[in-house]
Symmetry: C2
Subunit: 215 residues, 2 copies
């Protein structure tokens, strides 16, 4: 395995591979070629073969890929099945929407609890997830393994909350605050969800189209 | 201008350039080299010069880039300042969170109204944004220019709502539903926000780190 050298671009494509393979499975497709995958993903077949070769040998030259095996391999590489547990910081609208709509369980992740500062929320629950006071988190983390903190607090509290999370010893933050958290400490993993990147791509394509329509 | 041939990867990097340039401006930085940008963005200086060359000539060889001019140029390429207007479909938690936290105005986009099917929401407002019945949308769109529909309805209603939006003549959907909308019609622009892609990247890095720690 030459895992150490996987380029970030390849890692970023893996979730798209997983999604596409799951769509194929939903359609009862058992076998897929790199050309077919390429058409669905807008990548060249050689790009796809090169990506998969970073992780070992999945393919049988000329026979295509077994969709189930490939899906399981990609899922395993992505850490699905590692049994991660997460907590949510910020039980407001966004946190609520994430708990309700994002399939944490589908990706093998269990959400243990939510934490908020609002006395009206503390003591309540979001679905089956209890909402505790933020101040209870250190004690909670001492008694429960917490791999990932989902940060959905208002932006002005992002940095202080992230520092607290890191101090308590959680190693990964899924950051929805649009605040810059890279410099908190070396070992903290931070993954940012930047809505703006997606919005601006749409804005770009819309503007290009309008330019074409206007000659 | 050779805009027709801009590769998708370059377009996807533009929002990151914009964000970085705005951070530099916040820090009163007036001039930046491709090396400095490269360090902040984890790209090589030659990659950055190559990206910018797709859009014309911003740089002065050996002098770096003027941050204000470069920011304005990137913003213009991204369609900021085109005066887009948007509507929101789905006034639930996610729609609410988007209206409250996403800076539509910062990207030059005006949100005109929200649409929902819930009688308890129709007639209310989210901040200053009125919530109308979904059935009122065709009439609304006949009287108001709507460039972008933000789709934040439950997944099971995604496809029917998207078809309705496209039939009414809106050309772009910002899709938060995780439903596949690519096949609705040829001319509809769809930009998906896939939370899972971001979550899985975090899961990957966490799993790689744990493997290293466990030897």
């Amino acid at each position: 395995m030459k895992r150490e050298s996987i380029p970030p671009n390849v890692i970023r494509r893996l979730p798209r591979y997983l999604r596409t393979l799951e769509e194929l499975l939903d359609g009862n497709v058992e076998c897929v070629s790199s050309s077919q995958l390429g058409r669905r993903l807008n990548l060249t077949p050689s790009q796809i073969r090169q990506d998969f070769s970073c992780f070992g040998e999945f393919g049988q030259q000329g026979y295509g890929y077994n969709v189930v095996l490939l899906r399981d391999a990609v899922a395993s590489i992505l850490g699905i099945g590692s049994g991660y547990s997460a907590v949510l910081f910020g039980a407001g609208n966004l946190g609520h929407a994430l708990l309700k709509n994002f399939g944490f369980a589908h990706y093998g992740c269990r959400v243990l609890a939510a934490f908020d500062v609002d006395p009206a929320l503390v003591g309540s629950s979001l679905g089956e997830i209890p909402v505790y006071s933020v101040h209870e988190f250190a004690g909670f983390a001492a008694e429960n393994r917490v791999d990932i903190a989902v940060l959905a607090v208002p932006r002005e509290f992002a940095l202080s909350t992230a520092r607290y999370i890191a101090d308590v010893g959680v190693g990964a933050i899924w950051n929805f605050t649009n605040a810059e958290l890279r410099d908190i400490n070396e070992s903290l993993l931070v993954e940012d969800v930047h809505f703006s990147d997606s919005f601006l791509a749409l804005s770009y394509y819309l503007s290009e189209r309008q330019k074409q329509e206007n000659g």
